[in-house]
Amino acid sequence: MPLGGVIFIVIFIAIFGAFLVWLSIKTGGKVHYHPVKYEPYECGLPAMEKKDTKVSVKFYLTAILFILFDIEIIFMYPWATTFRDFISSGQGGLVFGSMMFFLIVFIFGLFWEVKSKALEWD
């Protein structure tokens, strides 16, 4: 069980990265502060910011649909690893048919979303 290796390398990279950032701060020289210089970047004009930024609901919809399809795809993974075992044990037809039903539901969902223009971007 090589989980220790994963944790080791994550901690190592975190320390390494923190060291690089620290080094670049140290070697970066003196900070010359000026309030205009330290404004967020905005093409040379004073920044205009609305109080509450409205973002298209498409982004949320894309993310929600992504989660749903992601779950469906995850369910295909154990099927893909066992499909040949099922075939050699004689249950291939049943498992093939059940996954085809699942995929038809998947395709219907995708087709309906394309039809209802939920995936249109303009």
Partner: protein, 178 residues
């Protein structure tokens, strides 16, 4: 202390700490990021239980998809007013006290449960050792034969959710009308 138990305690402490910071952080974005960290910790704990595929699913679906959505939504809304409303007020205070009570009850219950489990050996759920593939294949063999109906029902359920999400996003009114 063996290496395995050290690993468990390390992961448990990381997971519980990030879980606590979800509710202790004032800024909801930091809370969401802590929750993502909690999910990663839980995924690592699944690996220590040899449930490799479940660990992968936890990582892909919860840490990589659900929490990304939460973080995205929170970053896009300017939640300053809502935060103010949530930090002060009598109603909020009541909710806080109630949550503390519920959490304490849950904690006591969990401790009692685990104390009860110390004495009995749970041999009725066998743990398959070996490579990750064996556990995954065992899962597949059960999922597509014994729990086939549940699996197909899940496909339909996900379709219904997708339709519901699209319908909600289309509803007029609210803040998103152009």
């Amino acid at each position: 202390m063996t290496a395995d138990s050290f690993l468990f305690w390390f992961l448990a402490i990381v997971t519980v700490t990030s879980g606590l910071s979800v509710i202790l952080m004032n800024n909801p974005i930091y809370s969401a990021l802590s929750l993502a960290m909690t999910m990663v910790g839980i995924s690592a704990l699944f690996i220590t239980l040899n449930a490799f595929f479940i660990a992968g699913v936890q990582l892909i679906v919860y840490a990589g998809a659900v929490m990304v959505l939460f973080t995205m939504v929170l970053m896009l809304f300017d939640l300053k007013h809502e935060m103010q409303a949530f930090v002060k007020g009598k109603f909020t205070g009541f909710i806080k006290v109630a949550s503390v009570g519920l959490l304490a009850g849950l904690l006591v219950g969990a401790i009692l449960m685990s104390v009860g489990l110390f004495t009995e050996k749970t041999t009725d759920n066998p743990v398959t050792f070996g490579t990750g593939m064996e556990a995954t294949k065992a899962l597949g063999r059960i999922l597509y034969t014994k729990y086939l109906l549940g699996f197909e029902a899940l496909g339909v359920l996900l379709l219904v959710i997708a339709i519901g999400a699209v319908a909600l996003s289309r509803s007029k009114g609210g803040t998103h009308e152009h």
